[in-house]
Symmetry: C2
Subunit: 222 residues, 2 copies
């Protein structure tokens, strides 16, 4: 379908322009921006709940939560103490795009923000193609999924700077092997950093908090 492909290229090229505009805005305010991606159910919202609970006194955190139909994720993040949380309901679209983020930041005073988190739609395919002006993509994977996911969805793992392995409390209850998922991720992306944690037990969360706090400080001093 060449017509479809031509349109897709045009859409992506328009998105890239808006993403660049976003990146300049964020950088002008020294805001560290992550685009958090994963399958549905890997625990993006749980990780952000823990992050808000731990860090909202130390950092000024804004979040936008993308969802196909509901505002459930944004509601959870507000309950977890998020003061700057906005839902983006995509109305069926399988990913967020830069125009949605541009519209959402009109609701914030960028001057006051240290960390901007974009919780993407749960989907390991489509969000990999859409730059949202972020500093880094962070891909989350749960130990209840297969440890071959980096090989099966390579674009997402290639474009991510960090892989967070969540639900380490479930290791041993499935065939998921930590060393296998690490090898597979490194095979696709030799530069990817890996953080293992369990939102349920709290194991490994300090490493995530430290990493995030350090990235925010680095961006502040740029």
């Amino acid at each position: 379908m060449p017509e479809k492909i031509a349109i897709e290229k045009k859409v992506l090229s328009e998105n890239d322009k808006l993403a660049q505009e976003l990146r300049e805005k964020f950088t002008a305010h020294n805001i560290f921006v992550i685009n958090l991606v994963s399958s549905p159910g890997s625990g993006k919202t749980s990780l952000l709940e823990k992050t808000l609970e731990k860090l909202h006194d130390k950092l000024s955190i804004a979040l936008v939560a993308g969802d196909v139909q509901t505002e459930n994720d944004a509601d959870r993040l507000i309950r977890a103490g998020g003061k700057m949380v906005r839902p983006i309901v995509t109305g069926g679209s399988c990913h967020l795009d830069a125009s949605m983020i541009l519209k959402s930041i009109e609701q914030f005073d960028l001057e006051t923000i240290d960390l901007f988190v974009i919780e993407n739609v749960g989907n390991l395919v489509c969000p990999s193609s859409y730059d949202l002006g972020e500093d880094m993509k962070v891909v989350l994977i749960s130990t209840a999924e297969g440890d071959d996911k980096p090989l099966k969805y390579p674009a997402m793992f290639r474009k991510s700077s960090v892989m967070v392995v969540n639900k380490t409390d479930l290791l041993g209850f499935s065939d998921f092997e930590l060393h296998t998922v690490k090898e597979n991720a490194k095979q696709i992306n030799g530069q990817i950093d890996i953080i293992e944690l369990s939102c349920r037990t709290g194991d490994g969360l300090p490493k995530w908090f430290d990493w995030l706090t350090e990235q925010v400080a680095l961006k502040k001093n740029e």
Copy 2:
């Protein structure tokens, strides 16, 4: 982006025509066809491995396994005893479409098939829009995901005839509640049938095998 929406409508309308062609072919040969959809990592391939091991002596089963980049799933299904298994590598596309299935069935003698299973790409959004000529969509969800998934991805659960809840062996290790996921699924689709099972322990699998065998028999006698 009206141009993009117009193209999407055209693509879907072309897909619907091909899906109708597929449905007529399958029905002419009394083949029962399921389109199996889920998030990445819910256990589609595991369920099909168990199904092949149990039923391949009783039923003539053909499978096509859609994957974005690899043929891993098809390889696993062949190792599980599948004699008619073909990979479909979508090359980045986030879903299977009817033209891919039409091309894949050229490799089979439809006269010899009782059950045709389409393992879709792991994605709870995009595959809901593409009719593949199936009798039924079956949506798989794992207890390691959130029990609000039917509310968050309503199109998929609305279009599915059956929801299979996999990994019941992990119940109690997360906040997932069986009664909640059932209520949420029924709220979206009052007609949906629900089968609970664990591919790991085997609990509940007989119900799945019986249901599938019964559907094949019904289609044979149409």
